[in-house]
């Protein structure tokens, strides 16, 4: 892992410093996710140094209709990250995937031309990064409000896991990062078979009717497994599940209530971050009634 240890202003504890690529939606529709990440990082002795002047990765649009663009847009960010010389942490699954795809493409070309390898740090998705043993042990030590009795399904979505040739993930069909994290936070992780099933977020604007089918299936499966909420690490999944709950409830003629909570929000809650409630208040499906009922707020 390429990171630098530095000391905070008071010189009291050592901080791990890594580069951070937030991605476009964390400046907008996922402002709640961004706030919770900024909130919990210092609690985990982590310094997230935002890449200066980063640009959009091109997302689904670029790889769907212009392959070259889908490699060159993230490549500019890779160059910025290389200059910074540290590992790069990415909270958005889609950005993570596109950055990794561009990195693999560069590696492939370099191998084709010379024996050159990569010289940058590792690209991490935020969930994998924060569920390393070192962070989990900090969490154990700093836990002030165990999330006892909170039954949650981990919903990983697609692109942090798949395809393994791009993501370098070993457990891409059955990842367990959320489950390990929830155990440390003393919540109750519920096993289910739809952890990495697609919610169709990329089609949310153009074909919301298709999204309804996919999302309803996820809600039904999560409820059947006995879950009270989803835990997510992808803001596309979050927005897609959170924003469509009202619509699918109306269509199905029943009242779905399953909040869609970012794992960083749960970390903040469990570590007693004073602003955790304000992050949760920004969801469309308000998680606070559930958390109050469980005595966690």
């Amino acid at each position: 892992m390429k990171s630098t240890k530095s000391f905070d202003a008071r010189g009291l504890k050592s901080l791990m410093k890594v580069s951070y690529y937030p991605g476009c939606s964390l400046e907008g529709t996922a402002a709640d996710y961004a706030a919770s990440i900024a909130g919990v990082a210092p609690l985990l002795d982590l310094d997230l140094a935002e890449l200066e002047d980063w640009n959009c990765c091109g997302a689904s649009a670029a790889h769907s209709i212009n392959h070259q663009l889908s490699l060159e847009l993230p490549a500019r960010n890779l160059a910025l990250a290389r200059e910074a010389g540290r590992d790069l942490v990415v909270p958005c699954a889609l950005c993570f995937n596109r950055l990794k795809a561009a990195e693999k493409d560069q590696l492939h070309r370099a191998e084709a031309q010379t024996a050159g390898g990569r010289n940058g740090g590792k690209i991490w998705d935020l969930l994998e990064f924060l569920t390393q043993e070192s962070f989990l042990s900090i969490l154990k030590k700093k836990l002030v409000r165990p999330l006892t009795g909170l039954k949650a399904v981990g919903y990983y979505g697609c692109l942090a896991s798949r395809p393994p040739e791009i993501t370098d993930k070993a457990d891409y069909e059955n990842p367990e990062d959320f489950e390990r994290l929830l155990q440390v936070l003393q919540a109750e992780p519920i096993d289910w078979s739809y952890k990495t099933d697609c919610c169709g977020a990329g089609l949310a604007m153009a074909r919301p009717d298709l999204i309804d089918t996919l999302v309803t299936r996820l809600y039904d499966r999560a409820l059947a497994a006995g879950a009270e909420c989803f835990v997510v690490a992808c803001q596309m999944c979050q927005a897609n599940l959170d924003l469509s709950q009202g619509r699918i409830s109306k269509k199905a003629g029943k009242d779905y209530y399953l909040p869609v909570i970012y794992f960083t929000e749960l970390i903040g809650l469990a570590l007693g971050h004073p602003e955790a409630a304000s992050w949760l208040a920004r969801h469309i499906v308000d998680p606070r009634p559930l958390l109050r009922k469980k005595g966690l707020m």
């Binding site: 476009c24 939606s25 400046e27 907008g28 529709t29 996922a30 402002a31 709640d32 002047d53 640009n55 959009c56 091109g58 997302a59 689904s60 649009a61 670029a62 790889h63 769907s64 209709i65 212009n66 392959h67 070259q68 663009l69 060159e72 847009l73 500019r76 697609c158 692109l159 798949r162 395809p163 393994p164 891409y172 069909e173 099933d197 697609c198 169709g200 977020a201 990329g202 089609l203 604007m205 153009a206 074909r207 919301p208 298709l210 089918t213 996919l214 924003l243 619509r247 208040a281 920004r282 969801h283 469309i284």
Partner: protein
């Protein structure tokens, strides 16, 4: 597009070779196990199941593929690619076909999906490197309205937009242009986008 493949097909050559050369995807490795179609979450919305797309590509049925619905309702979840025992990037084939359909100026089966991708890239370029989410939503909504005025959907979306705005999740002013705006423009020009 209405697709009828009960009629005998006339195989053509060249498509498989092009996909192999341009996208480095070995279509001929397919042995039709249909794992791609079995795991596809969007199969319910497709006119051709993913295994058929591969088979028809091997048979050189370019027009049928460029005009089909499947490539545009594919959500790019990459389950097919991940599970293919022969290392065929099926989702990559979908992308290649989409790009080719646009390059050839074909009438696409899902103009709204194609337009969304176009609006996304245009908004991103115009804003100077980062995506202005609100401008994209507004422009795409107007485009949809012109095609197919659905006031109920508009009302529902407006309510959702307001709910996001109240929660500070919709920025009325887009992100500032980057210092590297010129580089971004160059990247777009080079890619012909």
């Amino acid at each position: 597009m209405e697709i009828n493949i009960s009629q005998p097909l006339v195989p053509a050559f060249g498509l498989q070779e092009r996909v192999g050369k341009e996208a480095a995807i070995p279509l001929s490795a397919c042995f039709q196990c249909k794992k791609c179609s079995a795991g596809c979450p969007l199969s319910f919305a497709m006119d051709l199941l993913p295994d058929r797309v591969i088979r028809l590509a091997l048979l050189g049925q370019t027009d049928m593929l460029l005009g089909c619905r499947t490539i545009w309702v594919c959500a790019s979840c990459v389950t097919c690619t991940t599970r293919c025992p022969n290392g065929i990037d099926i989702a990559g084939v979908m992308d290649w076909l989409k790009e080719e359909a646009i390059r050839q100026g074909k009438a696409v089966d899902q103009p709204e999906v194609a337009a969304f991708q176009r609006f996304f890239l245009d908004s991103l370029r115009r804003a100077g490197g980062r995506l202005p989410e609100m401008a994209l939503m507004r422009n795409f909504t107007l485009f949809k309205l012109r095609r197919r005025p659905d006031l109920k959907e508009l009302w529902e979306n407006a309510k959702l937009g307001w709910a996001l705005f109240k929660r500070g999740r919709l920025r009325p002013i887009g992100p500032p242009a980057l210092k590297g705006r010129d580089e971004i423009n160059k990247i777009f020009r080079r890619a012909g986008a």
